[in-house]
C-alpha cells in the first residue's frame, strides 16, 4: 500500500535539487571568464523505490523515489592537459631565448652607420691619412680620436652584454624562487584536496587552482607528474621528486641550481629557466649565449690590438728637438692587456700625439720626419687574411654579426611555431572545459521549469491531502 505522504518527498527532493542545479549554473556563469576555471556539471540519477519487503507488497506499478545527485564533476581532459603543458614548456623556452637575443641584436646595430665595423673602418681610414702626412699634428690627433671611438665602443658593447648577463642571472634566481613558491602552494593544495575528497566528493575548485599552478610551472621547467589515488599529485623533475604528497624538495640557486636536501645539481632540459641559463652561460658555437659573444668580442679586440701593437712597436716616434725629446721605438699603441671591456689606448699615446710611431727609422734629424713606412704597414693590417685565430678582421666581425642574426631569427621562428601549437591546444582545452553562456542559459531555463513544475506538484498533493483530511468522513457533522 502506498505511503500517504510519499509524493511530498519526491517533490521536496525535486525542488532542492533543481535549486542546486541552478546554483551550479550560476557558479559556471559567474566564472565564465575566470582563468583556469573548468565548467562543472551535475549528474543526476533517479532514486530506486523504497521497498520494505518484496514479499509483503506484491503491488504492481511501484514508483521510484524521485531524483538524487550522483555526482558533481568538472569536465576536463587530462590528456590535453599533459600535451598543453609539454608544448607550453617549449614555447616559454623559445620565447625567453628569443627576447634575450633580440635585446642583444639591438646592441649590435650594424645596419646603422654607428656600429662596430664602422668605427674600425674609420680608425683605419685615419691611419691612411697618417700614411699620407705622417708628421702633421692634426692628422695624428685625428688618429687618436678615431682610436678612442673604437675602443670605447668595444668597452660599451662589452659592458652592456655583461649587464644583460647580470639581469639573466637575477631572472634565474627569481625563477627558482617561483618554483619553490609553487611547490609550497601545491603541497598545501594536495593536503586540502586529499582531506576534502575523503568525504567522497570532488574538490573541483581546489583542483582548478592546482592545475593553474601546474600550467605555470610547465612554462618554467620540464617535469613529469602523476595523480595518485588519494587525489594528491606527485611532481618530478628529471628523476628527482619536487613534490611527493605533502613532502616537497626545495631548490637553491647559487652559481648552479642545486637541491637543498642532497646538494645535487638540478637537471633541466627545457623551459624558460633553461633558456635563462643557456643565455647566461652559453659559451660555444653549439650553445650560443652571452659568454660566447663576449669571448668573440674579446678575441676581436685582442687581435686588432695585438697586431697593431706588434707593428707599431717596430716604428719610431716623432721627436721634439726643441725640448730635447728624441725619437724612440718599442712603444705600444694600445694597452697590452686587452679584452673588449679594457680595450684602451696606451698612456704614451694619450699623453702626446708625437708618440704615434709612423716612421721605420730613428728620426735623428728633421729631414727624416716624412718616413711613413710603419704607418703604411699599419694600414695593411686591415687587409690581412692571416691573423691568428680570426684570419681577417672584416670576416671575423661579419661572422659574429651574422651568427647573432641567424640565432635570433631561429629562436623567433621556433617561438612562433610553438605559439601556434600551444594556442591550438589552449583552444581545445577551452572547447572541453570552457563555459558557454548560451549553454548555461538553456540549463537555467530547464531547471527553472522543473522547479516551477515541482512547486505545482506540491500544490496538487496539498489539495488532495486537504480533501482527504478535511473533507473525508464528515457526513452528518
Amino acid at each position: 500500500m502506498r505511503s500517504t505522504f510519499y509524493g511530498f518527498e519526491i517533490a521536496k527532493m525535486s525542488l532542492a535539487i533543481s535549486q542546486k542545479a541552478i546554483d551550479i549554473t550560476g557558479h559556471n556563469i559567474a566564472n565564465a571568464d575566470t582563468k583556469g576555471y573548468t565548467r562543472q556539471r551535475i549528474t543526476l540519477a533517479s532514486k530506486d523505490p523504497y521497498m520494505q519487503s518484496r514479499f509483503l507488497d506484491p503491488e504492481r506499478g511501484i514508483v521510484g523515489g524521485g531524483v538524487s545527485i550522483q555526482s558533481l564533476d568538472q569536465i576536463r581532459d587530462i590528456y590535453i592537459d599533459k600535451q598543453y603543458r609539454k608544448e607550453n614548456n617549449l614555447m616559454e623556452m623559445w620565447n625567453t631565448r628569443s627576447e634575450a637575443l633580440s635585446y642583444i641584436e639591438q646592441i649590435f646595430d650594424e645596419t646603422q652607420d654607428s656600429g662596430l665595423s664602422d668605427s674600425i673602418n674609420t680608425f683605419f681610414k685615419s691611419l691612411h691619412d697618417l700614411t699620407n702626412n705622417p708628421a702633421d699634428k692634426g692628422t695624428r690627433i685625428s688618429v687618436i680620436q678615431n682610436a678612442l671611438k673604437m675602443t670605447e665602443l668595444f668597452n660599451h658593447y662589452s659592458s652592456q652584454l655583461k649587464d644583460k648577463q647580470t639581469e639573466l642571472d637575477n631572472a634565474t634566481k627569481i625563477s627558482v624562487m617561483r618554483i619553490n613558491d609553487i611547490s609550497s602552494n601545491l603541497v598545501n593544495l594536495n593536503e586540502q584536496i586529499k582531506s576534502y575528497e575523503l568525504k567522497g566528493e570532488k574538490a573541483n575548485d581546489l583542483r582548478d587552482k592546482r592545475n593553474l599552478l601546474l600550467d605555470e610551472l610547465s612554462g618554467i621547467i620540464d617535469f613529469t607528474y602523476e595523480e595518485s589515488k588519494d587525489g594528491t599529485v606527485n611532481v618530478a623533475i628529471n628523476g628527482k621528486n619536487l613534490i611527493e604528497g605533502s613532502v616537497r624538495n626545495i631548490l637553491e640557486s647559487n652559481n648552479n641550481i642545486t637541491w637543498l636536501d642532497d646538494g645535487s645539481n638540478l637537471i633541466i632540459k627545457r623551459g624558460s629557466l633553461k633558456a635563462y641559463l643557456d643565455m647566461r652561460d652559453g659559451d660555444s658555437e653549439n650553445n650560443v649565449g652571452i659568454p660566447y659573444i663576449i669571448n668573440n668580442l674579446d678575441l676581436l679586440a685582442e687581435s686588432i690590438g695585438n697586431e697593431i701593437n706588434k707593428v707599431h712597436s717596430l716604428g719610431w716616434t716623432l721627436p721634439d728637438f726643441a725640448n730635447g725629446v728624441p725619437s724612440i721605438t718599442g712603444v705600444d699603441f694600445f694597452n697590452p692587456q686587452i679584452t673588449a671591456e679594457t680595450f684602451a689606448l696606451s698612456d704614451a699615446i694619450l699623453e702626446n700625439s708625437n708618440n704615434i710611431a709612423a716612421s721605420s727609422e730613428n728620426i735623428t734629424s728633421a729631414e727624416l720626419k716624412g718616413n711613413n713606412l710603419v704607418a703604411s704597414m699599419l694600414t695593411g693590417i686591415q687587409n690581412r687574411t692571416d691573423i691568428p685565430k680570426i684570419s681577417s678582421i672584416d670576416s671575423f666581425l661579419k661572422g659574429i654579426v651574422t651568427e647573432l642574426a641567424i640565432e635570433t631569427s631561429h629562436a623567433r621562428f621556433m617561438f612562433e611555431g610553438q605559439e601556434t601549437l600551444t594556442l591550438s591546444l589552449s583552444n581545445q582545452k577551452s572547447s572541453v572545459s570552457g563555459v558557454s553562456i548560451d549553454e548555461e542559459m538553456t540549463s537555467l531555463l530547464r531547471f527553472q521549469h522543473i522547479y516551477a513544475a515541482s512547486a505545482r506538484l506540491i500544490t496538487a498533493i496539498d489539495e488532495y491531502l486537504d480533501v482527504l483530511i478535511n473533507r473525508t468522513g464528515i457526513v452528518g457533522r
Partner: protein, 308 residues
C-alpha cells in the same frame, strides 16, 4: 567541436594581434625607409650588406688617396716641364755664345741670364704642397736644396760628392700611396732624380756655364752636350710621371665602377621599394579592419538577448 565564448574572443584577439604586428612591421619600414630594421630580419642579407659597406668605405679612402697622389704628381709634372723650359732657354743662349761672335759684354749678359735660371732651378727643387716639400724624400719640413758656402747641399749632402749608397738611400724614400685594392703608386720624385748627381747635376752644369762665360778667356766646352743629356733625362722623367698619372686615372675609373656595383648591392638589401611596401601595408590594413568588423559581430549576441 564545442565552441565557447572565451574561445571566440581569444581567437579574435590573437588574430587582431597578428595583424597589428604585420601593420607595425610595414609602418616601421616606411617611416625609416629601411627594409632591415633588425639584424634578424634578414641574416643572409646582412652578410652581403656588411661586405658592401666595408668595401665602400675602402673605396672612399682610395678616392681620397688618389686625390692626394694626383696633386703631388701633377705638381711634379709641372715642375719637370719648367725645368725642361729652363734647359731650352739655357741651350738657346749657349748656342749664341758658342758661336764665338759675342763680345765680353754680351757674354756677361748671357751669364746673368743663366745665373737667374740656375737659381730658379733651386726654387723648383724646393716646391711645396700643403706645407710639405715634395722633392725632399722623407724630408718634408726642411728646405731640401740649400746653397751653403758655395756648395749646393741636398738634404745636407753635397751633390758633387754624393756616394752611390747615399743616392740609394735618398731614392728609397718614396711615397707609396694605396689607390686600389692591390695597387699602390709612388707619388714622389726624389730630388736626386730631379737635379741629377755628380758633375752633371743641373745646378753644376749651369753654374760652370756661368763661370765660364764670366771668365776673361772664354773657352768653349761641352756645355751644350751636357745640357742636351740633361734634357733627355728630364724628358724620361716626364714620361714616367705622365705614366703614373695615367694609372691614377685608370684606378679612379675602376674604383668608380666598383663603387656603383657595391652601392647597388647595398641598396638592394637595405632599401625598401616604397610602392611595394605601401601596397602591402594597405592590404594589411584592410585585413585588420575586416577582422575588427567581423569580430564585433560575432562576440556580441548571446542567447540571453533573445529570451524575453
Amino acid at each position: 567541436m564545442r565552441i565557447t565564448n572565451s574561445m571566440i574572443i581569444d581567437t579574435f584577439l590573437n588574430n587582431l594581434n597578428k595583424n597589428s604586428n604585420i601593420m607595425n612591421k610595414y609602418q616601421a619600414q616606411l617611416s625609416s625607409n629601411r627594409r632591415i630594421t633588425r639584424l634578424s630580419d634578414d641574416p643572409i642579407g646582412i652578410m652581403s650588406s656588411l661586405e658592401a659597406r666595408s668595401k665602400l668605405q675602402r673605396l672612399e679612402q682610395f678616392s681620397n688617396n688618389n686625390r692626394e697622389a694626383r696633386s703631388w704628381l701633377d705638381q711634379t709634372e709641372f715642375a719637370l716641364s719648367e725645368v725642361n723650359e729652363i734647359i731650352k732657354i739655357a741651350t738657346e743662349n749657349m748656342i749664341r755664345a758658342e758661336n764665338g761672335t759675342l763680345s765680353a759684354g754680351d757674354r756677361n749678359a748671357v751669364a746673368s741670364l743663366i745665373e737667374q735660371l740656375r737659381d730658379h732651378v733651386i726654387q723648383i727643387g724646393n716646391t711645396v704642397i700643403g706645407g710639405r716639400y715634395i722633392f725632399g724624400g722623407y724630408n718634408t719640413s726642411e728646405t731640401p736644396f740649400k746653397y751653403i758656402d758655395g756648395t749646393l747641399k741636398y738634404n745636407g749632402l753635397d751633390l758633387l760628392k754624393i756616394t752611390n749608397d747615399e743616392i740609394d738611400i735618398q731614392k728609397s724614400q718614396v711615397k707609396d700611396i694605396l689607390v686600389g685594392f692591390n695597387t699602390s703608386i709612388n707619388a714622389a720624385l726624389s730630388g736626386v732624380d730631379l737635379m741629377g748627381t755628380g758633375n752633371d747635376n743641373l745646378f753644376n752644369i749651369l753654374d760652370e756655364t756661368v763661370k765660364a762665360l764670366r771668365s776673361e778667356n772664354y773657352i768653349s766646352g761641352n756645355y751644350l752636350e751636357r745640357l742636351d743629356n740633361k734634357q733627355n733625362d728630364i724628358l724620361t722623367l716626364l714620361a714616367d710621371i705622365g705614366g703614373r698619372i695615367k694609372r691614377l686615372d685608370i684606378m679612379e675609373d675602376t674604383n668608380s665602377r666598383y663603387e656603383v656595383s657595391y652601392l647597388d648591392m647595398k641598396s638592394s638589401i637595405e632599401d625598401i621599394d616604397q610602392a611595394k611596401v605601401i601596397t602591402e601595408f594597405k592590404m594589411a590594413e584592410a585585413v585588420y579592419r575586416s577582422t575588427l568588423a567581423v569580430g564585433a559581430k560575432v562576440i556580441q549576441p548571446k542567447l540571453i538577448d533573445f529570451l524575453r
